[in-house]
């Protein structure tokens, strides 16, 4: 590409319209104002949002996000601005921009630590609580499968896969639990695929 063409293409690129994108501050500030968050909210962020007990997984419903209309741009009074920036500094992860409630702000870091590769479509569709439960269910399923394999190996009765169907099958409770977890994960993933 000669110099003239290069200049032309650069100019064409710079003139091209780009879609307007709301900044992270606009979104976080909107949540601060909508939910009237106070400085005390920061202390809530100190404790990881680990309030979901594993026993609840089977009862968990697929929780959808509460729709919220973020403003195109946002100005805040000093107190609100300081709080919004403090939240952004404290919960510094790429999932924060998809949070649509204070609860999701709090969960976002835990979710990101658990699975940093969630796609935007997943993050936009489901409440972070559901996604967090889904990730935990996957992890638990892996652990349970591993646990079952280990116990079979200890018994020395062939491969784990073979033993599952015979007299060395998994205990009912364990099997039931794996089924529950599997069904929950499938529900989340099926609805994402739709």
């Amino acid at each position: 590409m000669d110099l003239l063409q290069k200049i032309k293409s650069e100019r064409a690129q710079s003139k091209k319209k780009r879609p307007f994108k709301r900044t992270l501050f606009d979104k976080v500030n909107c949540l601060v104002r909508t939910y009237g968050l106070e400085v005390s909210f920061l202390s809530r962020l100190e404790v990881p949002e680990d309030y979901l007990s594993e026993a609840n997984v089977e009862f968990a419903q697929l929780r959808k996000k509460k729709p919220i209309e973020f403003p195109l741009f946002s100005l805040a009074a000093e107190r609100e601005y300081r709080l919004a920036t403090a939240i952004m500094n404290k919960v510094d992860n790429p999932y924060l921009e998809f949070a649509q409630s204070p609860e999701e702000i709090a969960i976002s870091k835990t979710l990101f630590d658990l699975n940093p590769s969630l796609g935007a479509d997943q993050l936009v569709r489901y409440h972070f609580e559901t996604l967090l439960l889904c990730e935990r269910a996957k992890k638990e399923m892996k652990d349970l499968a591993k646990q079952a394999n280990d116990s079979q190996r200890r018994k020395g009765a062939g491969s784990a896969r073979e033993s599952l169907g015979d007299e060395g099958s998994l205990p009912d409770s364990l099997e039931q639990r794996i089924e529950q977890l599997q069904s929950f994960v499938e529900k989340v993933e099926d609805s994402q695929a739709q």
């Binding site: 900044t23 501050f25 606009d26 500030n29 741009f73 946002s74 100005l75 805040a76 009074a77 000093e78 601005y81 920036t85």
Partner: protein, 375 residues
């Protein structure tokens, strides 16, 4: 503006300007941080002031706010104005019950438009003296002295109101520099608006007195004619007239249409009798017919009906220009507005089968023989 004043936030006043607490976003914060030496004392940085650790941004000139409040906060301004006027109303209200500015406007501005000179080569509008002469010719004026109190020639009520206004304080100082709460600002604004209203009213009344003095000097000897007309409340000259409504200072100004003819779809003529098209001097300013009358542009066969005018927006206030325009619109609609092809209006002159007829015009129809004789 009202939302700002009732917001409950604290403002800053500096050199006659109102400063609002600065609103932030990351760009603004970067900009603020780039300002050199942001000391805790009031640091002047163009439009942003740092006061006790809080940034304020320059917004409105308080003087300009007061000067333009009539436009930006009309309701509040009107409240203040009516409160001031209540104080002087006692003096003003006593005047102008019979010979008012409305009547003066009708006689000297509207009447000359409709009564044109038409004597040989002498054409044109009447001036004030001509009008008074014409009235004197047409009206049998009984020889007596007329009372001038309660008329536009009685300047005493206005002068008394002016005196009351002179006593009211019309000065206001901008609030002292520093933090001001929204309630303090509201209080100050009320005072400033009151002072402004007092000043404006003074000017208005002074001009009014001067205008009336000029009128008195102009009509001088013929003043009795005006006073007689005012007492009578009605007058008609050459098809133009007015009549007072009850004991109020409002009038119906009218112009006679004379007889006129309209044609229907089949070319048949209809002779419409004379009627008075009138406009009131009060809202709604719409042309009406005074007599019991029927016409395609009138909904029923009744008196006092509004004339149907397509795409017409009535004016908001009484003035000579508006009254003239309204009268012309009304008369033109009756005489030239009906389109026989389109049969526009509420009714059509000829019978149609499309809707139930409520008003018929068969009695106005003239036979071909009569038509030729009328020509």
């Amino acid at each position: 503006m009202r939302r700002l004043i009732e917001s409950g936030i604290d403002f800053l006043v500096e050199s006659g300007f109102l400063y609002l607490p600065l609103l932030y976003d990351p760009d603004i914060e970067r900009e603020i941080q780039s300002i050199p030496d942001p000391t805790e004392s009031q640091e002047r940085t163009g439009s942003v002031i740092l006061n006790k650790g809080q940034h304020f941004v320059k917004s409105l000139s308080l003087h300009s706010l007061v000067a333009n409040y009539e436009r930006i906060g009309k309701d509040s301004y009107d409240q203040v104005r009516s409160a001031v006027l209540r104080q002087v109303a006692g003096s003003i209200d006593r005047g102008e019950t019979s010979l008012s500015w409305k009547l003066i406007t009708i006689i000297f501005q509207i009447m000359p438009y409709f009564i044109k000179k038409n004597r040989g080569l002498e054409r044109g509008k009447f001036n004030k003296e001509d009008i008074l002469k014409l009235i004197a010719e047409k009206v049998d004026l009984p020889p007596r002295e007329y009372e001038r109190t309660n008329t536009v020639f009685d300047l005493k009520p206005l002068q008394e109101a002016l005196k009351v206004l002179e006593r009211l304080d019309s000065t206001f100082k901008p609030p002292t520099d520093g933090i001001i709460s929204s309630s303090e600002l509201r209080h100050w604004l009320q005072k400033a608006l009151k002072a402004q209203v007092v000043e404006k009213e003074r000017t208005r009344l002074r001009n009014e007195v001067r205008r009336r003095e000029q009128l008195i000097a102009t009509v001088d000897e013929d003043m009795d004619i005006l006073l007689y007309v005012a007492q009578k409340g009605s007058l008609e000259i050459n098809g133009f007239g007015f009549t007072r409504i009850g004991a109020s200072d409002d009038y119906l100004i009218y112009k006679r249409t004379g007889e006129y003819r309209l044609k229907d779809y089949y070319g048949r003529s209809y002779l419409f009798p004379d009627c008075r098209v009138a406009v009131p001097t009060f809202s709604p300013f719409k042309p009406v017919v005074m007599e019991k009358y029927k016409h395609p542009f009138l909904y029923a066969h009744d008196s006092g009906q509004e004339i149907c005018l397509h795409g017409f927006y009535p004016p908001q206030q009484f003035s000579a220009e508006n009254a003239i325009h309204l009268l012309e619109e009304g008369i033109n609609a009756l005489l030239y507005g009906y389109d026989a092809r389109r049969r526009n209006g509420y009714h059509s002159l000829d019978r149609t089968r499309e809707y139930v007829r409520t008003v018929e015009f068969d009695d106005y129809r003239i036979s071909p023989g009569e038509q030729t004789s009328l020509r």
